[in-house]
Symmetry: C2
Subunit: 189 residues, 2 copies
């Protein structure tokens, strides 16, 4: 119905500010100033500050969930699934750097949608865990504690949003190759 153009601009500006200062430290007056308007004018397009956070975080969380579904159901070896996951994180972190910051740092300020978000996150982690466990079972992955492996991989992948924007020189394909290599085969020579 309504053209959501202006609303999208507001969401984008909000995500950018949320990355820089965190959700709680950003005021609606900050956001309005960044867009060159007055705070009250924002409410012609959005319903609340909370809604901005919900929109930003949930859309990314759902994207992760959907893509993970494809990866886990594909008929591929563990190493390929892991590489696919690395690529997925690189893609989302590249396309939505600002949103990833909110997802990582401000998810606890979700209110109505907090429970839903946690369901999505737990499902994603459970799928990831099962891929690792299957890999260990089929001797494709070293027999270490799967929780430690999961933690280690997820920590790096979740932090990509901090790092990718600083290294624009690096193209996504070679980053994906190098990172997969380092995470899977280690750094030992």
């Amino acid at each position: 119905m309504k053209p959501q153009n202006r609303k999208d601009e507001i969401v984008k500006a909000a995500a950018k500010l949320f990355k820089k200062k965190g959700y709680s430290a950003v005021t609606m007056r900050d956001l309005a100033t960044a867009l060159g308007i007055k705070a009250a004018s924002l409410y012609n397009h959005i319903n609340s500050k909370q809604e901005l956070l919900n929109t930003i975080i949930i859309s990314i969380a759902e994207e992760f969930t959907n893509e993970m579904n494809s990866i886990k159901n594909a008929d591929t070896a563990t190493a390929q699934k892991l590489t696919d996951i690395v690529e997925l994180h690189i893609k989302i972190a590249s396309e939505n750097t600002y949103g990833m910051a909110s997802l990582n740092n401000d998810w606890m300020h979700l209110e109505d949608q907090l429970e839903y978000y946690l369901t999505l996150r737990n499902g994603y982690e459970e799928d990831f865990r099962n891929i690792i466990k299957a890999g260990i079972k089929h001797k494709e992955i070293v027999d270490e504690n799967p929780e430690i492996i999961l933690f280690s991989l997820l920590s790096t992948l979740r932090s990509l949003y901090l790092w990718i924007p600083k290294k624009e020189a690096l193209d996504k394909n070679s980053l994906s190759k190098s990172l997969s290599h380092i995470l899977i085969k280690g750094i030992n020579s």
Copy 2:
């Protein structure tokens, strides 16, 4: 002079709240309530909310800097230095889980001490980078982009504070061994 006992309790309670909600979302009334007193009473012991954040973050940053100095100057092989760094992060994340959250997520809200903090952090990362580069030079580490290796290792190590408190079953020694193994030798079998 003054016994700092009560002040320490306040700093500790603050760090705990800052981890849960972030610096900006924690009010002095929240903090006081957590300690069973009124907000104004806090000011018998501390000078400002800002001072709490400074105290929490800077003490940890200095600890990292000091320990990194020992590690880099030791006459040890690259693999040993990396293991030492893993152990250092595990130690600090175990002893100061709450503080690590502030250091990771709220450093941008430092004001007077922001510049000093960034100097410490850049120094730490530069030392880490040089250890990796030397390892590559001496063929102890695979010849991948040192920036990617640094990013990957640091991401995992910086996230330990989120994970260690959830896995109290695991003792620090075996965690250190497993994690070093995974980070250095990879997860390939």
